[in-house]
């Protein structure tokens, strides 16, 4: 039986898709929201430190499952490997209603003004595709504010002198500072830096009918047991459903976008939870499946008019895959600094996001989320063995005496860091899987080393008796902060979507997720994805009739 035609089909119920579905449904469009994962609730928190989205040695807590999903990775020597989602090389993000927003640490950053003007700020970088966004911070500012107030952000960024101008403060105050924060704050000020409270999509006080964070130690990687983390699954998606216009279908895996002979999208083909192939026709198709899967879907949507996939006339789909090069330092103290006050991450500085003399870009530095013993067991300084009596003694002695300061370096996009579809390997449904290849730009490691040095200085000044650096390699970037594969731009020859998120050569297909980021900020990207989704939703709701 044919499914009822809808105005919009949204692929992926994560950060981008959840917001767009809500904006469209509340504007009166009929919406089918397709999600390949399940809908978890606070009861699924489970606090399982070996099966979650951060440590997935026994599987991913919130999908995708190891049975049906595969990707192919290609390393710098050309060696191919078929990887499962629980393997780090898969570059996983959660597959469920809310996606990463169900299980994240919930940092809610606005990018800085320069982050939208990286080419103008730093010039062309050899070996990279550094470019300005076609929209500015000012274009996005009202939508940042909307995301902050509608979904709920706590924190206090008033002491951050580097932040872009904002019209309204955050809707909720920060949580009280934990021991690490109280130790690090005066030190940062003494160093001439500007520490402040990390903004988070987390209730610090009752908000939106849900209670505040209870400050447990199972935060990033887990669902929130008291539903105090704000993701799309407990904010905009319930609103979309309450409008009566949105039909959320879970465990539905989209195969391809369907197009007609005029080159317009007519809907999508997907496998439902019983693995039956379904066809959902729609006036508008919104792709919000994450940087890897959105690119894969466009590339897998081949037809006579689009032999290389939708939006891929100039071979830009899947290019510029980027996440963040995480850098920082670990410090060991001679006294306990562990007070068991989650989430742990609390204090940040933006003194090294830009203006790092002799370097391109930079990143924010924050104290890290609480380390569970399984995390800490591998955080070993270079001069301590990784096993045996000395290792055990190290864990016992320093578990409560360590501080980590780290942060995400904004990367130079690289054209050859990319998502393709594999010519051989297929998933459970017979659809070609994503094939990931490429490397980071060397500049990321250079500035990373510089910023890591600042983290180490901070820890030393705070009294650390031993410190060492955390530095990434040149391996392919991506992970939960994956972005860039469907670049937004004004020139159809060097980008995939226009400034309104519309695929250049198909008037009714939109990409709304981290894929459109030209550059990814020196911050966790989720608030920018949400803000772009509000902006996209508004544009589509206003204009969809003209191309329906």
């Amino acid at each position: 039986m044919a499914l009822k035609h809808v105005n919009a089909v949204v692929v992926g119920a994560g950060a981008g898709g959840g917001v767009v579905a809500k904006e469209l449904a509340c504007a009166g469009l009929s919406v089918a929201l397709l999600e390949r994962g399940k809908w978890y609730t606070a009861f699924d928190c489970r606090k399982d430190d070996l099966r979650n989205q951060r440590v997935s040695v026994l599987g991913c807590g919130f999908g995708p499952d190891d049975e049906r999903y595969r990707r192919v990775t290609v390393d710098e020597t050309g060696r191919e490997e078929i990887v499962k989602p629980s393997n780090w090389g898969y570059n996983n993000n959660a597959a469920c209603v809310g996606s990463g927003t169900q299980s994240y640490g919930a940092m809610a950053w606005r990018y800085m003004k320069q982050d939208f003007r990286m080419r103008t700020t730093y010039g062309a970088i050899e070996g990279g595709t550094l470019e300005d966004w076609p929209i500015s911070y000012d274009d996005l500012e009202p939508y940042y504010e909307k995301a902050e107030w509608e979904m709920g952000v706590s924190g206090d960024v008033s002491a951050n002198i580097f932040k872009a101008p904002r019209k309204r403060p955050l809707p909720m105050p920060p949580l009280s500072p934990n021991a690490e924060h109280r130790l690090l704050e005066p030190v940062a000020k003494r160093l001439g830096w500007h520490p402040f409270y990390i903004p988070m999509l987390r209730n610090s006080v009752p908000y939106n009918g849900r209670g505040p964070c209870m400050r447990c130690r199972w935060c990033v990687g887990f669902a929130c047991e008291v539903d105090a983390k704000n993701g799309t699954q407990n904010t905009v998606i319930p609103t979309a459903l309450a409008s009566g216009n949105c039909d959320l279908r879970t465990e539905c895996m989209v195969k391809e976008i369907l197009t007609d002979e005029r080159g317009r999208a007519t809907g999508v083909a997907y496998f439902d939870r019983d693995n039956r192939l379904q066809k959902q026709t729609a006036d508008v198709v919104v792709v919000s499946a994450s940087a890897t899967e959105s690119a894969r879907l466009l590339l897998n949507s081949k037809s006579r008019l689009f032999p290389a996939g939708i939006g891929n006339r100039y071979d830009w789909v899947g290019r510029n895959l980027q996440g963040h090069a995480y850098v920082g330092a670990i410090g060991l103290m001679d006294h306990e600094v562990y007070d068991d006050l989650g989430p742990g991450a609390s204090i940040a500085i933006c003194d090294f996001n830009h203006g790092n003399k002799g370097y391109v870009s930079g990143g924010a530095l924050c104290n890290e989320f609480i380390r569970l013993p399984i995390h800490f067991s591998s955080m070993v300084p270079p001069d301590v063995p990784r096993w045996g009596a000395a290792h055990k003694e190290y864990v016992r002695k320093y578990y409560k005496r360590s501080i980590i300061v780290m942060g995400p370096i904004q990367e130079i996009p690289v054209f050859e860091a990319r998502v393709q579809v594999d010519p051989v390997v297929k998933d459970f449904w017979g659809v070609p899987v994503a094939r990931l290849s490429g490397q980071r730009h060397p500049s990321d490691l250079a500035v990373g080393g510089y910023v890591a040095g600042k983290a180490e200085l901070w820890l030393k000044e705070a009294g650390a008796v031993k410190t060492w650096l955390l530095l990434p390699g040149r391996g392919l970037s991506g992970g939960q902060h994956q972005a860039g594969t469907c670049r937004m731009g004004n020139d159809p020859k060097t980008s995939v979507v226009d400034r309104n998120y519309r695929v250049h050569d198909v008037e009714n297909v939109f990409v709304v997720d981290g894929s459109v980021h030209v550059t990814n900020g020196g911050f966790n990207p989720v608030l920018t994805i949400l803000a772009n989704a509000y902006r996209a939703g508004e544009f589509i709701a206003k204009n969809w009739k003209s191309w329906a």
Partner: protein
Amino acid sequence: MAWYKGLTRREFIGIAAAAAVAGAATSCSNPKIPWRFLNADEARTLAAICDQMIPPDRDPGAEWARVVNYIDIQLCGPFRDLQPDYKRGIAALEEYSRTKFGKVFAAIGAESQLALMIAMEQGNLSCGTWDGGAQKSFFQMVLAHTMQGFYGDPRHGGNRERVSWKMVDLPYPPVRGQQKYGSKE
């Protein structure tokens, strides 16, 4: 303080679910021995390896914490693909131990075990068909699993009585905000 004694309802549900999963993997169960995948000899060897990685001192070590139980359970689940690696690695180590010492690995004494482990980590055991690369990857695999079994959540069969969490003085669960866990106070 008796916060670690007894099972709460939630833990019981977790264990019951794990048992149901384990029961489903019939190819992995043998009623005659307590292990699901390993045989008794292999389990004894593995316990000795794990106990070198996390030896007992004033706190119990990996063997007491039932790290082998953790690995054995996972070898019938998420680590299913690694079954041959365990079989091969343990057999090769035993062969080396018998040739060199005339005894099984578990019986050669802590000092010899440690020396052998260090050589294995570096891929330096001169051991017939078991090349250096295979030695190193076996070592790293067992090391990762041992850390998981010792420091990870007890629901997966290791970290008996939350021994590692007690070792680092980490109370469980911290009851804050809501009394969602049954406390035996």
